[in-house]
């Protein structure tokens, strides 16, 4: 069983609540095992803080399997840390070296206000989905699932867009704090499927309007979102959303 031998310096953002100012605070950790996950390293830090009578660092996390999208640390200038295609909870200490200094901050975006320490409020994402990220079908109205064959390529493409976990790394990494990758992933998923067609253009208008109302920035095609997305959501989705948004002005019979 492992106790490890890594020594680390952490610089962690501490902020009591959204009314107070925050600052980076230094912590020294020793005997960290390379087999620990990044969050387990934080568990060790918190246990030490509690034993010293201090308040532990508050951070969002839940499944610790990379799928719930709750963990959200900005590590050494990158959301979810140095490894591509993983969330913070799936990052392991073997990705760091003995003696490293690691800076850990919350997501930074006007639409994601800090709640406490490393925890932010991402409810704007829910409101964008509530504005149109669905197919309007009540329970109990569905026909037999195989009455609607969908070509495999198309279904697979929809699935790839649907793999978004809503963590907000795309927003955190974008210099404009744009949510376009998140919003376009949902729009694409539904636009690629026959079930999504009846509301296709109305949906893109409602969701984009809500996205703007939440204070997310615009897209300037830097591609940082795609590069940092732990689920590899593609920029093509943004292109598809923009095409649909442009078309909607001509096609949609309803004004949203």
């Amino acid at each position: 069983m492992s106790t490890g031998n890594m020594n680390l310096t952490l610089k962690v953002w501490r902020q009591k609540n959204n009314k107070t100012k925050g600052a980076l605070v230094d912590y020294q950790l020793s005997d960290i095992s390379p087999d620990m996950s990044f969050l387990e390293m934080f568990d060790v830090l918190n246990e030490q803080l509690i034993n010293k009578g201090e308040e532990p660092v508050v951070f969002d996390h839940d499944c610790r399997e990379g799928i719930c999208g709750m963990c959200s640390m900005f590590i050494n200038g990158r959301p979810h840390g140095p490894k591509d295609l993983v969330t913070t909870c799936q990052l392991h200490m073997r990705s760091f070296k003995d003696g490293d200094t690691i800076v850990v901050e919350p997501w930074r975006a006007a639409a994601f206000p800090v709640v406490k320490d490393l925890t932010v409020d991402r409810s704007a994402f829910d409101r964008v989905i509530a504005a149109g990220g669905f197919i309007s079908v009540n329970t109990g109205n569905a026909q037999d699932a195989n009455n609607l064959p969908i070509p495999k390529m198309q279904a697979d493409a929809a699935f790839e867009a649907a793999a978004c976990i809503g963590c907000g790394a795309c927003v955190a990494t974008c210099k404009n704090a744009s949510a376009m990758l998140f919003v376009s992933a949902k729009i694409s998923q539904l636009a690629l499927l026959p079930q999504g067609q009846p509301e296709r253009y109305r949906r893109v208008q409602s969701m984009v309007a809500q996205m703007d109302a939440e204070g997310f920035g615009n897209c300037t095609n830097t591609g940082a979102c795609e590069a940092e997305c732990p689920k590899g959501i593609s920029l093509e989705n943004i292109a598809r959303m923009n095409r649909d948004f442009a078309s909607a002005k001509f096609i949609s019979e309803e004004t949203v």
């Binding site: 620990m36 839940d62 499944c63 709750m70 109990g140």
Partner: protein, 659 residues
């Protein structure tokens, strides 16, 4: 024998649900608008119920402790969802799904509930596809299926290794649609701390706003708990860090019986523990057993690498012991078989608490098929492996990536090392046929109730049950109760029952924060988990359980005198949240041991060492234990047993065999 009434409607099993559904009293649309329903939990069972009730016209409030309903732990379910569609024309039917589930549960589930589950299973797939859930498809455009343990048909629908995620996002989108329309009020980052009862009926909840620490009172004509399972009582499990029993336990303390708490599912294929720092365990989906073969070396303490052990020195022990089902035996059977091999000294890896899950044979087989499709009928081994790896990658890519990320090993090249881990809890709040607990007006859906899986759940049946309860069962059955409540006006929350419940909740929080002891919450949680795993885990015996009960009682006393909860009650305080949950887990742990001690037989996930066949299989005692053990909470953490007799009228009860 029964002293509780399950309210199963009369009539033939196959038509019972249809008839009942058509005769449940209705609430007219105008009345629905003034009837309020509280749904706690936003996973498959909660979100689907909240969305559907709102669609029907009820006023709904939905609560979750996460920052968004989309994060509920249903999202982590990997492998699939069962449905009796018979799309593969392999002889599947409602009856067969019903039969497999009853048998898989080791004849400890209620026939009527399970048959209803099998009946509505097909509707779930239809509903999800209509919502735009991207389930896996074949080249012809139709839905694909795969196999899961305990069945001989292919009835499992899936979306790569992310089926739970896709189904939950479907339910979440339905829920968000209702939120957008103002028909559901969503309360995220809220935790339910009490059930409010007025004149014996559930009439609301006390919840804590986790951001501000404020205690809130919420009225509902009825309350639905879809709050998930209690596997985290073991500290280490495949559950999310926040998964907890608190809502169900508070309901239990207000009179809801807790049924079969000792039935826990230990999943056979999880990534083994790597060190003391471990905070949770990660599942490798059962779907991997479609293509992975499980083995250990034939020689004890064999320290060679897997690749150095020749074929004839490997023991494919599941194929050897269970030739009919092989690697696809149910979870309880597979877990015990792994434990048996490791205990006997055949385990692999540094800890020797692991077995191999090996994809090589099937990778090669798939490669041969792919080569053949491309016209190469005599491919060399390397070509087979290359082409086959691509097939495996498409089927299980995300799981292989996750394994590599956690262990630092490449599972495409070396076999995975796996070991059983706590995964699911079949026990839960007792509910009748309507999914109502023993408290009138208090309902329970999904993993939080005990109803459908008996002593062991089959793979891909949790998603099925959560969505069946929320989309297709509760929205109908709740009408039987609410139709009698139409004259009840919303009760103001300054009613004494609300005041009293709020005082109870505040009292616990204040006590916890003022203990100011020396040990962290996690310290106590880990110790509880250790007791539970050692003495109420994969194998139990009378002596161990008696010891465990004493140890847990001592731990409870120590917790309440020496836990350290920093910070205050009126702020975001994650340690305080954990402390409340661990306090409830400690009480539950005791009840689990009491239940396991009471059940002098082995069945499904409950394996008492004293009760086994000569071949080491679970030995039931149908004469004395064919009942649901429903425990009533009594003052001072005591429990009284009530029994619901299980009658099997449509299935012949037999010793479960997968040979």
């Amino acid at each position: 024998m029964s002293d509780i009434n399950s309210n199963i409607p009369e009539g033939d099993l196959a038509t019972k649900w249809t008839k009942y559904k058509s005769s449940v009293p209705l609430v007219n649309p105008a009345n629905k608008r003034s009837i309020e329903v509280i749904v706690v939990g936003s996973g498959l069972a909660g979100a689907s119920a909240a969305a559907t009730l709102a669609e029907m016209g009820y006023k709904v409030k939905c609560f979750c402790f996460q920052d968004s309903p989309r994060r509920a732990h249903s999202i982590a379910a990997q492998g699939g969802i069962n449905a009796a569609k018979n799309y593969q024309n392999d002889g599947d039917s409602v009856y067969r799904l019903f039969y497999d589930t009853i048998k898989g549960g080791d004849y400890r589930a209620r026939e009527a509930n399970v048959h209803r589950l099998a009946e509505v299973s097909a509707n779930i797939i239809d509903q999800c596809v209509a919502q735009g859930v991207p389930l896996a498809r074949e080249y012809g455009g139709l839905l694909d299926n795969r196999s899961f343990g305990g069945t001989q048909v292919q009835r499992t629908f899936y979306a790569a290794g992310q089926t739970g995620q896709q189904l939950l996002l479907g339910a979440y989108s339905a829920l968000e649609r209702q939120i957008g329309m103002g028909k559901v009020e969503m309360y995220t980052r809220h935790e339910m701390l009490e059930v409010v009862k007025i004149d014996g009926k559930a009439r609301g909840i006390i919840a804590r706003n986790l951001i501000t620490g404020e205690i809130e009172r919420h009225f509902g004509h009825a309350v639905v708990l879809g709050t998930g399972g209690y596997g985290n009582v073991f500290y280490l499990s495949t559950n999310a860090m926040g998964s907890n029993v608190t809502a169900a336990w508070k309901a239990h303390k207000q009179g809801a019986y807790f049924a079969n708490p000792c039935y826990t599912q230990i999943h056979p294929t999880c990534i083994p523990v790597s060190g003391d720092h471990q905070s949770k365990l990660t599942l490798m989906s059962e779907s991997l057993r479609n293509d992975g073969r499980i083995w250990v070396p034939k020689k004890k303490d064999d320290n060679r690498k897997a690749s150095e052990i020749p074929e004839d020195e490997r023991d494919y022990y599941l194929e050897r012991r269970y030739p009919a089902f092989g690697n696809l035996v149910p979870r309880d059977v597979a877990s015990r078989a792994a434990k048996e091999r490791c205990d006997a000294g055949y385990g692999v890896g540094a800890s020797k608490l692991a077995v191999y899950l090996d994809f090589k044979a099937n990778t090669e087989r798939y490669g041969r098929i792919e080569a053949s499709k491309a016209g190469n009928h005599n491919p060399d081994k390397e070509t087979c492996m290359r082409l086959g790896t691509a097939v495996i990658k498409e089927k299980y890519g995300n799981l292989f990536d996750m394994y590599a990320q956690i262990t630092g090993e490449n599972p495409y090249e070396t076999p995975m090392r796996i070991y059983p881990a706590v995964h699911y809890t079949m026990g839960g709040l007792w509910v009748d046929y309507n999914l109502m607990t023993s408290v009138p007006g208090l309902y329970c859906t999904g993993e939080a109730n005990f109803s459908d899986h008996g002593a062991n759940r089959l793979g891909a049946s949790a998603l099925m049950q959560g969505l069946a309860d929320g989309y297709f069962v509760l929205p109908y059955t709740i009408g039987a109760y609410l139709s009698k409540e139409i004259s009840v006006k919303a009760i103001p929350t300054d009613h004494p029952a609300f005041v009293e419940a709020e005082e109870r909740a505040k009292g616990i929080l204040n006590t916890l924060i003022n203990i100011k002891g020396t040990k962290s919450v996690d310290h106590f949680h880990k110790r509880l988990g250790h007791i539970m795993w050692e003495k109420c885990g994969m194998a139990r015996n009378e002596q161990g359980l008696k010891e465990a009960i004493e140890e847990i009682r001592a731990l409870r006393a120590e917790f309440w005198s020496n836990v350290r909860v920093p910070g205050s009650v009126d702020e975001l305080n994650t340690e305080l949240e954990k402390a409340g949950r661990v306090a409830d887990f400690i009480e539950l742990g005791e009840l689990m041991c009491i239940d396991a001690l009471n059940r002098n037989e082995s069945c499904g996930g409950h394996f008492r060492e004293e009760y086994q066949t000569e071949e080491g299989e679970a030995l039931r005692d149908d004469e004395n234990y064919a009942y649901v053990a429903a425990w009533e909470f009594k003052e001072g953490v005591n429990f009284e047993l009530h029994k619901e007799e299980l009658k099997f009228e449509n299935i012949k009860v037999a010793q479960r065999s997968y040979k």
